[in-house]
């Protein structure tokens, strides 16, 4: 197995007196899809937020390509999130004032790509996710399934090393959930992006290469199956 792309050890994080993570570990290799599973309140979303540099752990180490995320400056972490990470949340979290095309182009614009080039790449991603027809519409005008596919396009447009997906099918019916998972995993595999997939649904986890189980803030890793 190659060196991990992203790895964490001994993560602790409490919110007030409530411990969310109590010594959690994690590791993912380039291009790998790992499901993070566990009951509600087990700490799986907190783990994802720490791994993505959104939350700072109280204790423990997180390394991305060997760089320590915990010691990094806020500016350094932000740059890493923009350039190397992509995000898909339970509900699209698209910018309501922008069209879907502008939403997908946004991460490229933030990293300095010109408008025309950014929108050309964004359109190619909307086509890949089978939602090219939503380009001129605003998020409020499209369905939940469509907006989740726009969100996947936005997450992948920068060709990220890691996509963090937090319950990406949580707000969708079975058919749309299947469609989002199929397109997300196919696109990530084609681009070579790793995916950290937080889910409580085993049918969604079955799209991954392996799973990590979080219980009471601790992690347990299942063996590789591929």
């Amino acid at each position: 197995m190659s060196a991990p792309l992203l790895e964490a050890a001994g993560l602790h994080k409490s919110f007030g007196a409530t411990p969310a993570l109590a010594g959690a570990g994690f590791s993912i290799s380039a291009g790998e899809i790992v499901a993070v599973m566990g009951p509600s309140g087990s700490g799986k979303s907190t783990l994802l937020h720490c791994l993505a540099g959104i939350l700072a752990p109280d204790d423990g180490t997180i390394r991305f390509r060997g760089q320590d995320l915990v010691q990094m400056s806020d500016a350094g972490r932000s740059a890493l999130r923009r350039g190397e990470f992509g995000f898909v949340f339970q509900r699209g979290r698209l910018v309501p004032e922008l069209t879907c095309l502008e939403n997908v182009a946004l991460p490229l614009r933030l990293t300095g790509t010109g408008r025309r080039d950014a929108e050309r790449q964004a359109m190619a991603w909307l086509e890949r996710l089978e939602v090219a027809d939503t380009g001129a519409q605003r998020p409020g005008e499209i369905s939940g399934g469509q907006s989740q596919r726009v969100a996947v396009a936005r997450a992948l447009v920068t060709d990220p090393s890691v996509v963090f997906a937090d319950e990406p099918t949580g707000s969708l019916d079975s058919l749309n959930g299947e469609r989002v998972m199929r397109l997300l995993t196919l696109a990530a595999r084609e681009s070579g992006s790793a995916v950290v997939l937080v889910t409580h649904e085993t049918r969604v986890a079955a799209y991954s290469d392996r799973e990590v189980i979080v219980r009471d803030g601790r992690t347990r890793s299942e063996e590789f199956v591929r």
Binding site: P39, E178, R203, A205, A206, V225
Partner: protein, 174 residues
């Protein structure tokens, strides 16, 4: 799988030779296990005896495949009745998994490891079916999804039972 009704249904679409019937069956329903010839002809002769199918024509030559079978009005009525009738849902009340969990407790072995081992095996199969579904067509998707939803239900039971092990142990060992 009620083979008689399946063959009748395929024959309702149009008369066929035994071999064509087997091929049509394999294409739609036999992706995991194709239908042996012997079974096709045994079933056809039973359907003939009941008057649900008849031989429409026999071409010159040897072998049973010379016969063309067609569905009769009685056959159509029979398949209509079968399609309209609901299937009895599986009661799922006798579970080997439940037995294993209780026996592990009674013999002072680890019920957790019984559940964990099963969970891994279920997920392994779910990944296999998901991979097949992604690579396959709509028919593969429907077949695999049916299995995936059932496996998911098992996994939810495994999860819930894991959470209830302490209570169960008190009940079993009291």
């Amino acid at each position: 799988m009620p083979l008689g009704h399946t063959l009748l249904g395929l024959l309702e679409a149009g008369p066929r030779h035994g071999y064509d019937l087997k091929r049509a069956y394999d294409e739609r329903f036999g992706r995991d296990r194709s239908l042996p010839y012997g079974q096709v002809y045994a079933t056809l002769s039973r359907l003939l005896k009941h008057g649900y199918v008849e031989v429409e024509g026999v071409e010159s030559g040897d072998g049973p495949d010379r016969k063309r079978y067609t569905i009769t009005d009685e056959g159509i009525t029979d398949i209509e009745r079968w399609l309209a009738q609901p299937e009895s849902p599986e009661p799922y009340l006798r579970s080997t998994l439940y037995t294993k969990v209780v026996l592990a407790m009674l013999t002072r072995r680890s019920a957790t490891s019984v559940l964990d081992t099963q969970r891994r095996e279920h997920l392994r199969l779910m990944r296999e079916l998901t991979a097949r579904k992604i690579a396959g067509d709509l028919i593969d998707q429907l077949i695999c999804d049916h299995a995936l939803f059932h496996l998911e239900a098992d996994l939810r039971w495994l999860e819930l039972t894991t959470a209830r092990l302490a209570d169960l142990e008190r009940t079993v060992l009291s």
